[in-house]
Symmetry: C2
Subunit: 337 residues, 2 copies
């Protein structure tokens, strides 16, 4: 790719603050001379019978065709029997690995310095099976499903990621002392893959201990790979270490080279349309998308501009203690380019 | 009770560092003039067929008879098919609520000041059902079981605890956006109980968000009640905020007034017998046991002596950056009484 060939990418602006922060991404990309032909997708207003979701068949086709996309926050419309939009995307597009880097932003102080963690979450099964039953009244069960297939591919992704990103260590997070069969299978897959990467240090850490150690000393960890729910929990915990989900990007990886970058924070309906939202998480997710497209130079430029704007501290949105609007913050980033 | 009537209580010294830290508790209690007639229980060397565990029928009877006890760390001997000792205790004694207070120890600095949290964990079911199946090769399932009975009793315990301890707020932690039926039932029980305590502020918090907020600002929380695995995770996270499991006590509550206080850290076989272990978690668990016995004066005396010894900083064990032996640290506490 060169920056002058327009690349087609799906864009889900999402709802709530989604359109505003998506607009910020477009402006910053344009200012950085990144020419993306955005294929904008809006979630349906009625349930599409082909997906049993407000997410339509066409929405899904767009990602499958473009193979790359960026997604803002989407709140699932209330109503029974329809799947969460986020989960529909993950399942239907087979987005099997969710990568969430969490690193301290220079200039934005939290209790922790120099955090630099990558959580890699299995994204399609586990506790998210949706299989739940009431057996007798007052006795309910949920099924956690772990498969060798999904565990192998996420483990393989994690070790390949570690290797290609110069990372030294992969920690597999589990509770196999209690769920010996499910988490045991997950660990066995990690063991098998780890054996193919002797240069990467590999360890297994029980989830409760992992959370305690992350809070005490996050520098103990590097890349973390884990089943779905543990990934949900630990990626939020890690985000908290560096300031929260408003500052952390993510990318979902599917088969056949599909990649959907995503801001995982909520749609913040209370401030929607008020030009108050912080676009950082979506911008940094956009940077991950550019790196995936091998537009590394532009990715680094944009990344530096975001980091420097926040570090400078003159333009910050309210969630970071500033009083800038979304558009002023965006303009400041463009000026840094 | 008066301090001169000997009270009978079960003591499981446990293994690894267990006997050393149990000895510390005995010495401190004696120095504080607390007369306990300890009924010492040692886990069997063979599996007891009546419990299918190394924990014997007699071990369990001791707690059922005395109704109160203190437990050190126990590592489950390796071998297939035998239940974890800790889980056997919880299940067989129906220890339905696990209470873990986490508070900043004055004088022991961490990244967080003034942490003051109580996690109350459902302790008998959920993800700890032990029900796991391989359906087809490479496809494994674990069952999470949530019952109305267990959810109601732990919710009731949590709100009663909040009320009797002057707490203002109870947060029910869940993932009902994904596990609508199981965690949904848990929440419904919390809702029902909350309605009977209008003076206690009640909120529901999704577990991922809870972990992020705990890390960013633990002062947002007060009492937290949750299903088993979330309690396992969040109580360790909270312990991490104040220095780790070596400093945090716990107590398990059963039906008919049974209470088993417990240090939840590991048995640290690497330093066992070396007079290096930190007895603080077991000592503070002992203090919880004394409060349960309404020996409040002695409980407060011992509590202050522990806190003051740590705050003074002259005698600290290696895990807290000092170089004191277990016995010197214990003696320092006794001297503070
Ligand atoms: C919104 C919710 C269904 C989702 C999840 O649980 O995966 C979110 O927490 C996330 O991490 O993307
Ligand atoms: C040792 C283990 C089985 C136990 C648990 O998972 O409950 C421990 O982590 C705890 O919190 O007491």
């Amino acid at each position: 790719f060169s920056s002058s060939t327009p690349i087609k990418a799906t864009l889900f602006p999402g709802d709530g603050i989604g359109p505003e922060i998506a607009e910020s991404v477009k402006q910053v990309f344009t200012a950085a001379d990144v020419v993306i032909d955005w294929d904008e997708q809006f979630v349906g207003t009625e349930v599409d019978p082909r997906t049993n979701s407000f997410l339509t068949w066409d929405n899904l086709q767009s990602v499958l065709k473009n193979k790359v996309g960026l997604k803002g926050p989407m709140a699932t419309p209330i109503g029974k029997g329809h799947r969460s939009l986020n989960l529909t995307l993950r399942k239907e597009l087979n987005l099997y690995a969710n990568v969430r880097p969490c690193y301290s932003l220079p200039g934005y102080k939290t209790r922790y310095d120099d955090v630099d963690l990558i959580t890699i979450r299995e994204n399609t099964e586990g506790e998210y099976s949706g299989l739940e039953h009431q057996v007798v009244k007052g006795v309910v069960e949920s099924l956690k499903i772990i498969t060798r297939k999904a565990s192998m591919r996420v483990a393989e992704y994690a070790f390949l990621y570690a290797k290609t990103h110069g990372r030294k260590k992969v920690s597999a997070i589990h509770k196999a002392n209690i769920m010996q069969k499910t988490d045991g299978l997950f660990l066995q897959c990690c063991d098998e893959v780890a054996a193919k990467y002797p240069e990467i240090y590999y360890e297994k850490v029980v989830i409760d201990n992992c959370c305690m150690m992350l809070v005490k000393n996050p520098a103990l960890f590097d890349v973390l790979v884990m089943p779905n729910l543990y990934g949900d929990i630990i990626s939020d915990l890690c985000a908290g270490l560096v300031g929260g989900l408003g500052l952390t990007p993510s990318m979902n990886i599917g088969e056949d080279g599909i990649a959907l970058a995503e801001a995982v924070h909520g749609s913040a309906p209370d401030i929607a349309g008020m030009n108050l939202a912080n676009p950082t998480a979506l911008l940094l997710s956009g940077v991950m998308m550019l790196r995936h497209l091998k537009l590394n130079k532009q990715a680094e430029q944009i990344h530096s501009a975001i980091i420097n704007t926040i570090a400078e501290g003159k333009y910050r949105t309210a969630d970071l203690g500033g009083s800038s609007t979304t558009t002023d913050f965006t303009k400041a980033i463009c000026d840094h380019l």
